[in-house]
Symmetry: D3
Subunit: 258 residues, 6 copies
């Protein structure tokens, strides 16, 4: 199991970090430099919020990964053991290059120095160019917590002197994906061509979507309901289905590509 | 034909208004004090953007009306003659109390003193409590033009000394409905229970939706595509389908109703 | 004393929560399902910021409660012992069904997992439909801290597997009230009819308002100064006095009530 | 009567402007370079929205002026003849250096080239350093119309080749004052010390405030109601009463004065 | 000289449009379908605000054009005759495919039906995929006026039944460039590699920049001052020099290009 | 070494604060009441972001100070020992009255009760009228962390019963300075006249700016690149070079100074 170790700080200088044997576990594929990495507070969040885009990229030959921040152990249905297998199965369907698990406590994901160092070590290990994170407007504390956590981790990952294992790495772009909130996106991605793969990847999370309806997210109607969202963005982007992303700062672009 | 006359200004004081024999035509039902009035730049805009809510209100016994601002004569399909009949048919399906036509020039709806006086006279005639208008963020000039026009008209309608026929009338609330833009709504209305009536009302505009697909709005798939929008707002409002509205200023509410 | 117990997490899974014998104390009335609950960082914040609305609701027969998050022990005047008695007296004046004390440290209210579990346990005990919380724009750290804390607690309260005592409960609506900040409200509530009761409820906090002027809030002129705020919102809502609230997400409403 | 003439454009180059003998009338005082000029869509708007600040400035020796854009002839009460006398009386009370009347049509104030040239000619005549204008968020079309109109006039006033009488003049700062809207101010001005003068200046508009209550603005309670607004801003600025202004762009300031 | 003719409306249906022999003049190059078109209220605005990007695109083989909306006849320096020659010279330097002149009145550019029809006819003639327009926040009335005008023109250009000469054309994307305002861009374009060409293109407007300093824009220091802006955006985009653009709605993008 | 002691809380009431012998160290000058204090997450942040303004103020005779929150020990270049000497040298160049070091952990600056008490004790010791803090939009966690931390510290500093050494002190104004983010300033300060002193103060941090280019901030081109920012704000403020600040709430101002 590849894992990012953490350098011990000099005596008395790293008061927050304790012992940390490993930053993450690999759930699927191999640790490798990735083009895109999506942070998921819980198993299935990435599929639901950005799955179509991730599948499109994987199909185009990009190295795409997902990192679950927690095992989703507070979810009403499913166990960590079952859910990790579902994650692997969905990864295969999506064509991911890597999927990992950071092992933070479900329901308590927030910006702490300790969690940020673990996430930074993972960023250094899989070295994404584009990082996709949950939105700060989400009502779910693990989603906005993951957003805030990612800011510190992105910073630490590039800092040579941080107490983080691995070689420094700078993420080039950070995009926010839509979870539960109504967002005002700056970017749309056409996902009409990957509808079936996307639905299959979501439904691979059987423990969540094959049983009783627990909430508006944990429900057998999940694909239908999220497809309505894609249809909404589609009407705005003049395509059939689209996923929505927000860049918080101006994106440096090649004007020829516009 | 009931019509709102316009008082002649004293010599030299009303330089913009010319001769105006009538402010509006009635297309369906009778001129009467309305609970809700929706302004539609073109025939079918009200059905598409706020139809479910208007139907719910009509079914609950409210007096509901629609005022088309133009005859939609610049639309690729349909003629003014055909479209007015479609409007009447849709009004019947929706259970409207009144539907009218203001006769402004399609493609040139904007805030002018002349158009505002005509609209103000109509507001005085049908005396709505709640006025629903297009959104200022819409890319269509007739939509944001109607928004700006409505502000002046609402003001003139309540002004005793305005050169506007009829008794002064104050609109109590103004809400913006979603047309083509992505808006940030403050209010959602559950429209699951009126889906079939709503679809029938839209499809009553046969000249627009029974033929070729001209644009993302003028297409036989209109119901499916706009239902995706309702599904989007539904996922945010925890219902199946919802319509979205924005109030620009704080709404005085009865806290017991929250 | 009714109190929400906290389930012990399985070994090794709940690293943040320590021993917690009780989540809250009852200061007035009985623990019961509430229609509205207002979170007050310190005793008297609820009266000052949302008192008129709470009184109106109580007078209309709604079950209304206030939960103080701290005892206000850092306040220049008053002691925790005196202030709890003032709270009970004000509760009686307002017609509250329940008033409680969460016992967090004054000046250190923030979003921590521990505090969130305590608040979540209390939410499960008194089961409010509408939750009213301080505003994130407030300059006072306990106010914006309470806002952030409430987000996590609302989430935990509905999560079956959270380490929180009591039956899961979902809050239906969250509204923000105005504390010290200038906010941009989405809702106004007419409070003209309850001016005298409101003033009496505030002045029941004698330790704060019967002595010297300490700040622009802790002053014998408190009623006069806050009435100016109500007068401001009144001029915007076309009533004499109003309180202002903000809903962060679109509210599902019955259009007939508009 | 001092008045700003308008140069005739070369044949065929000025299609919008017609014959204009004079841009404005003087109602009080003398045309002179002003430190501050406040634009009032109707007589009394400046007193109500920015009166305390204007009085403070005049008392401090600044040259302060008000320009009414219309005669308020659409107001329910008062006549243009009576209102101009009230304006002169209020000007005297406030200590203004000049007060003028632009003579646009009440209810039709908007950004037109013709009105902008008239206003620009007046700006050149009285040459204000600071220009105070109505707010674009106001519901009253003459208020947001005046805002938009002022933008074009400020531009024309500084343009050497504009068809505007007088020497080019550049306004240094533009501030927006609060009319009917809830605004988010960037600046507050303490007006406690001028409360009595301010009330007298408003009440000098007897035709509006000595008779029946017509609206929430035209009412004998006007001073009490607007003082509530000043009290609101006072609670935010830590003074008793304050007026609120908004600068739309960053203000160049002397840091020593902060 | 190629020019877009305007169809005569049926009797009585086009009350605003009068006789219009030609919509535009060609100043440089040939009328042809363009990849990018930049709208400039006055000669030199496009070079100053978006010149580096336009040059980059032209150098990459894209068809790039500029349309001046007015002849800049109100500018303190230069004459329309001289300025049109400067425009042609700058076009050559930039490698433009086409440059045109719409001939609206300098200082009076705003959203009117007449101007919108002229602009729409020009859009149909040169058929741009990307349209770059001034920003609505600009203090210059011709800049925000051009923004508003462009909205109506883009709509009319695609409307089959509009009274506009030429075949209907739909613009794919609209971007706003930075003129005088501080904007919040969503896109940055690296323009380090074209600094010299860009400076030469600006200085080709000799009548504006080779003489006295008239304002902060009309000054021999124009290149130095605008390069400071590019340097500012460069520090934000991690390049040396960048130009800033804003897309008002979410852009449909190819995720592989991010 | 002057230092702010911390009162021990009564048993059981201050669970977060541990033993704290001293709140800060003095790096330059003497502890004294300051007119302005700028918070710098790391040595050199204040010079880069607000240096020109601080120098102007010092030259005008104001008491100006800088407090570094950390020693910058995670920076790639320089050691804490070297950097503190650079700080003292820069302080002398700028004419500061005092410069201090709070000693928080670089890379872990955030809003904690413990850090807030230390910062509050320092605020009580140097008693600034104006406090200048980093911006919440900054991508660097220590910058937005310092912003959030400052809110709590400002509150604690004025609270009589806070467990903070020294006499209570209320900061009059808080301004945010521009670090790495693109901000929307409300205030600009002309810094043309202090360009040379400002450059010298920055370059006094030799360990950062005399060696290799590490990032877009740690580079020998730092002065040139930040001068581009000042040039940008200069073009907006109609001066040569300006620094940008944001006030989050309305500023009470003397209108005569505008």
């Amino acid at each position: 199991m590849p894992a990012g170790g953490v350098k011990r700080p000099p005596e008395g200088q790293g008061p927050i970090l304790g012992r940390m044997n490993s930053a993450f576990e690999t759930v699927y594929g191999d640790v490798q430099p990735l083009d895109w990495l999506c942070l998921a507070p819980h198993p299935d969040d990435a599929e639901i919020g950005a799955g179509g885009t991730l599948i499109r990229l994987a199909q185009a030959g990009k190295k795409v990964g997902i990192l679950e921040l927690s095992r989703g152990e507070k979810g009403t249905q499913g166990t960590p053991e079952v859910r990790v297998q579902e994650c692997a199965r969905a990864a295969q369907i999506m064509g991911l290059s890597w999927r990992g698990q950071l092992g933070l406590v479900d329901g308590e994901i927030m910006d702490t120095a300790k969690a940020a160092h673990r996430l930074a070590a993972t960023l250094r290990a899989v070295r994404p160019t584009v990082l996709v994170v949950p939105h700060f407007k989400d009502r779910h504390p693990d989603h906005f917590g993951a957003y805030h956590l990612s800011k510190r981790a992105v910073h630490l990952a590039q800092l040579q002197k941080a107490y983080v294992g691995g070689e420094p790495h700078r993420v080039s772009r950070v995009l926010l994906y839509q979870g539960n909130a109504d967002i005002t996106p700056t970017l749309l991605v056409d996902v009409e061509g990957v509808q079936e793969v996307w639905a299959a990847a979501i439904l691979a999370h059987e423990s969540q979507f094959a049983g009783a309806a627990i909430s508006e997210t944990v429900t057998p109607e999940i694909v239908e309901r999220r497809r309505a969202r894609q249809g909404y963005w589609g009407t705005l982007g003049r395509v059939r289905y689209a996923e929505a992303f927000e860049a918080e700062t101006a994106l440096l672009v090649d004007p020829e590509a516009l």
